[in-house]
């Protein structure tokens, strides 16, 4: 048996979503590609148990809305993370508790996390951010989305993403610097 030296390129997410309108099962390929990433982002924010529920609901909502997917974007992950972000809004309390607990653990003497006490203060400051700012910040820092991808994910103008991120970082800077002078405050205030 010989291998085809030029296998056909894998269909893009946009191709698969379009295809799923005719053949719903095609959406499973989108699921297989991105479920772990959506689950991981949810896990970071709301914990492993809730992540199962959040990721599943995000994909159900995505399936329901797929006829409105903007096919000019070949990568559906930002769209899926945006839907997951919406789903997670109902878990704000758990997320805040989790962030606070995580902040305490990384600041503890036994922690191997980078940043030590400053890290703890930074996470505590993240927990205190307004929801809209925290969403943008964590999509950027923990899901590695670009400004443009965050704008797509949250369906807001890119200028709104920039301003929310700027406000979030300014707030982190003032909160965390007040409590942890080891943080590079001047740098942190720049966007």
């Amino acid at each position: 048996m010989t291998l085809d030296p030029h296998p056909p390129p894998a269909p893009s997410d946009a191709d698969l979503i379009r295809r799923s309108l005719v053949e719903p099962i095609a959406f499973e390929a989108v699921f297989e590609r991105h479920f772990d990433a959506v689950h991981a982002f949810a896990q970071r924010r709301v914990g492993r148990d809730l992540a199962d529920e959040v990721a599943a609901e995000a994909f159900v909502r995505a399936f329901d809305r797929r006829s409105r997917y903007d096919g000019s974007h070949v990568d559906a992950l930002p769209w899926l993370l945006g839907i997951a972000t919406n789903v997670m809004r109902r878990h704000w309390r758990g997320e805040r508790r989790r962030l606070d607990a995580y902040a305490r653990s990384v600041a503890g003497p036994a922690s191997a996390a980078p940043g030590g006490e400053a890290a703890g203060e930074l996470l505590a400051a993240v927990a205190r951010l307004p929801r809209a700012q925290r969403e943008v910040l964590l999509l950027h820092a923990w899901a590695d989305l670009s400004y443009e991808e965050i704008a797509r994910a949250l369906e807001v103008p890119i200028g709104t993403v920039r301003s929310r991120l700027a406000r979030a970082r300014a707030r982190l800077s003032s909160d965390a610097c007040a409590l942890a002078p080891t943080l590079p405050c001047e740098e942190a205030s720049r966007v």
Partner: protein
């Protein structure tokens, strides 16, 4: 190290989802029958059997049903019946307008009001279907107060670290929910104060421009059909009639879908009968679909045109729908385009 870099490094470690969780999630979106652990059979059946037409309709179905008749009655009886069962609320403040109205039926509907970036979402459902929604919504709320709204008492909920408020109240047989962002409770209460109940005519007139005016329906359908090859037996008059009107996207899907379904019916029948001429005629008609103005207009708003074009490509060949698991056109087109769904 900047705060952002530190935050990146502090991303909590994650582990892969376990297979049970993955399988449950997969089953929830899978239309294929018989998977173990399926959580939502009703939903899976709906997704599997109804296909794109239902998905498109669920995504943006509308709304207003009305017509002016020769007797001078402003709106058709069905329209009035539907409107009378709705709370018929508008925001009586400068700049606020209705930008969306979805899934509207007797006693069940949604509307979105907007002014600039500010948005209010109104939902009403039959009171009988309320369940314990109020109690569930109140979980975690740090604002839970009673405020007057339109002569009734609304439960108003707000949440810490969130600028969204919700007002819930009962209006006759309807349970009404209004939610929107506001800087504080007073600002949200001020918005509640601006809600006004209006008559049927004023309420229907306030519907967004995306809703095709019922009186103009026949004209709009004729415009949408312009330039399209009409399949034998298409009832153009029936498309132009009816009390229930969808927004322009949905009406466009119904009109273009009827045309495409007619040609694909002809292709499938020709294949069964060995009628090559019928198949060629249908394929030639479908080959023009990429130039259909209504599909080109709809392309920017959703994927219905892509489904039509994918099927047009299939009948250009041997009927195999390419791009994924191999499908035969005759097994796929009706669910894909909603051919079995009655015209609106």
């Amino acid at each position: 190290m900047s705060d952002l870099e530190l935050l990146r490094r502090l991303a909590p470690p994650v582990s892969a989802p376990d297979e049970d969780a993955r399988e449950r999630a997969r089953a929830a979106i899978s239309p294929s029958p018989g998977r173990p652990g399926r959580p939502g059979r009703r939903r899976a059946l709906r997704l599997g059997l109804v296909g794109v037409a239902a998905a498109a309709i669920a995504a943006g179905a509308v709304v207003v049903a009305s017509d002016r008749d020769d007797s001078g009655q402003a709106w058709a009886a069905e329209v009035v019946r539907v409107a009378e069962a709705a709370p018929r609320l508008l925001v009586d403040a400068p700049g606020w307008r209705v930008v969306r109205a979805d899934q509207f039926a007797v006693g069940d509907g949604e509307m979105t009001f907007a002014r600039g970036d500010a948005v209010l979402e109104l939902r009403w459902i039959p009171r009988a279907g309320l369940g314990d929604r109020g109690a569930k919504l109140a979980e975690g709320a740090d604002v839970d107060v009673r405020l007057p709204v339109l002569g009734r008492e609304a439960r108003v909920l707000g949440y810490p670290d969130d600028d969204e408020f919700r007002a819930l109240w009962v209006d006759g047989d309807a349970y009404v929910e209004l939610r929107g962002a506001a800087p504080d409770l007073d600002a949200f209460a001020a918005l509640l104060d601006r809600l006004r109940r209006v008559g049927v005519d004023e309420w229907l007139t306030a519907m967004p421009v995306s809703v095709v005016r019922p009186a103009a329906r026949a004209e709009v359908v004729a415009e949408m059909l312009r330039g399209l090859p009409l399949p034998p037996g298409l009832d153009v008059d029936a498309l132009g009639r009816g009390d229930v009107v969808r927004d322009r996207y949905q009406l466009g899907a119904a009109v273009a879908g009827r045309v495409a379904c007619g040609w694909l019916d002809r292709w499938a029948a020709g294949k069964r009968a060995g009628d090559d001429a019928a198949m060629r005629e249908a394929a030639a008609a479908m080959a023009t679909s990429r130039a259909w103005p209504i599909l080109r207009e709809m392309q920017a708003q959703g994927a219905y045109p892509d489904a039509v074009w994918e099927l047009a490509d299939a009948v250009k060949g041997d009927g195999t729908v390419v791009g994924g698991k191999e499908l035969r056109l005759e097994d796929a087109y009706q669910s894909a385009l909603g051919c079995g769904v009655p015209a609106p």
